[in-house]
Symmetry: C2
Subunit: 354 residues, 2 copies
């Protein structure tokens, strides 16, 4: 945890800041173990302060990183406590997470705090994962793999998408997952044409392709996997599309190594899908980083110039969506290594017909 | 839905605005049926525009309210589309949700949009529920009631809090719930002293009091119920505390009627608990409004001056928390009626020992 605090202080220093106020759940957890929508972490050159209200005080006292000064003061609002600390340490410029703080909160702070408020973006603070973080991510990936094998055995025609979702989640939580990383997608038949369809009331039919996109949290870290499979028989055109998506995904994974730019990996899959004639049917980025948040920077997108480094964890998830017919998406989580990458999700990818 | 659009336009007009840009999931759904973190609803005096990106276009086309102009234009960012509409309609002042839009987004808009950006707060836009909304809330409450009866039959010493949570949620989803309203709280033994403890790895013991706080979503609307019960035997001091909390809750519910202020209802429960000697152990508001968001305004809090109106739905949830020992909380959802209130959650409240 000390390493993370050092990393955050380095990024603060690069921006000429002596203090930074963290409000996002992800950064509060990353720096201080505070996984909560409420409360603040105030990082100065000397200290790390956690400012939480009475409702969370006891829970945080037990869970937070050692060495952090926990403050609770129900008589004074958080802004007052922050003002006092800044005055004590003689700090007159305070960084804040510009993409996390609402305009309304910023306005209130501007009226209360005497320090200059400096909007800051630290998109890559958490992008290189430690071994400790990877332990959680690996476990979350293993549970997702097991969940896929389980649901293939239990899903069947006649079930609704929602029922399949309920069975899958119940099983993954029984294996020790905290919860789902995001609302599980079960998109069957023509619903498969919607990249972000949620599990709904549609009843699974023989001849459907089904896309399931899911993941779980372990120790607050996410996994995220997608597989498409067929019920009864694998019909055209999606049978052919499956092969195109799988080839695109495998080529993109094979292209990952430190020093390459994110947009180059996106291009590998995108070019392949375009050459196969489905360019306009691949309507999203190839992938995203993943950690405490399920969607982090950098992204495997056409415009992301970030250079890959060992320790980054990203998804690789090309898809082809045909309106009125359905869709195919195949997604794995990968860890950038010294020489290439390691695929963290290991569920089989050959076309399964159940 | 038209009624809601009219209501939003009235509130816009009161603030002297000819257009308002909605970004919160809750208001986008309320006005236009768009339940998504991405996308925008632009409400003008003449039109309702939904601006969504390609990933959500198809899903939204199916789900959205009739009469709404759906725009998607992957070649132009949303701000460009908004700018074009404002220019066409000759609008030079645009309201936005000040508490929902990040400082970073506001900065970008300020650079792109030529209209003056007016920060707006509409905390009571959704506070009076329609019959259509109440249908969903009632169903969500019924499933929570059934969930409580189910878990009382299935929970037992030796189970972890997390296992109890998994059983409860699986069952409520099998009854048609979309998902949980919020992370389910199962706080056993000394964990009961933490009002917002999540379900964790603690193993339930004979002699524990267990507090379960949970709810589900139906049609995107929430329920929220809490019950405390004992395993094996109901020990002191919590047995006595249970009676105090229950009396506080029932008196507060009996005090609800149109025309009273929210803070007066809070005071009924708070005074009772203070007189019983536990004032400092009741560390949160008595309750909150509930709807598409699980926590809405107004609140049953010591400072909320809002006057109750028929159609408002709020929780009534006093609690007493004893550090190192445990806690008791009892929560129901109530609907303000013409003459008083109707209790929407109906699970029994006498002390249960299982």
């Amino acid at each position: 945890m000390l390493e993370r605090i050092k990393r955050a202080r380095r990024q603060m220093a690069e921006k000429g800041l002596a203090a930074m106020l963290f409000t996002s759940r992800e950064n509060k957890f990353y720096i201080a173990g505070l996984y909560s929508g409420s409360g603040y972490i105030l990082l100065t050159k000397k200290q790390v302060y956690a400012i939480v209200d009475g409702r969370y005080y006891l829970a945080q006292k037990q869970r937070m990183t050692q060495g952090i000064t926990l403050q609770t003061d129900s008589a004074h609002p958080a802004a007052g406590q922050i003002e006092r600390i800044l005055t004590e340490e003689g700090i007159d410029r305070l960084g804040f997470e510009a993409d996390e703080v609402s305009f309304g909160v910023w306005q209130k702070w501007r009226g209360t705090l005497s320090a200059e408020l400096v909007p800051v973006s630290l998109p890559h603070l958490r992008s290189v994962k430690s071994e400790e973080e990877l332990l959680c991510i690996r476990k979350a990936c293993r549970i997702a793999d097991q969940g896929y094998e389980y649901i293939l055995e239990h899903i069947r025609a006649g079930m609704t998408e929602k029922q399949a979702e309920n069975e899958l989640l119940y099983y993954m939580k029984s294996l020790g997952a905290q919860k789902e990383s995001f609302d599980i997608i079960v998109a069957s038949g023509e619903n498969g044409a919607m990249p972000h369809a949620k599990a709904g009331e549609r009843v699974l039919q023989p001849g459907d392709f089904v896309t399931m996109d899911f993941g779980v949290r372990v120790g607050e870290y996410c996994s995220d996997i997608t597989r498409s499979f067929a019920i009864g028989e694998a019909r055209e055109p999606l049978r052919t599309v499956y092969g195109i998506v799988l080839a695109a995904q495998e080529q993109a994974i094979a292209a990952v190594r430190p020093g390459r730019r994110c947009r180059e990996i996106d291009a590998v899959a995108r070019d392949w899908i375009e050459k196969a004639g489905y360019g306009k049917n691949f309507s999203h980025n190839l992938g995203h980083s993943m950690g405490i948040a399920c969607h982090e920077d950098p992204r495997f997108g056409p415009k992301d110039e970030t250079v890959l480094e060992p320790g980054m964890v990203l998804t690789v998830e090309p898809g082809i969506y045909l309106e009125g017919i359905g869709g195919i998406r195949i997604e794995d989580d990968i860890l950038v290594t010294e020489s290439g990458c390691e695929v963290l999700t290991k569920a089989p990818k050959e076309l399964r017909v159940i």
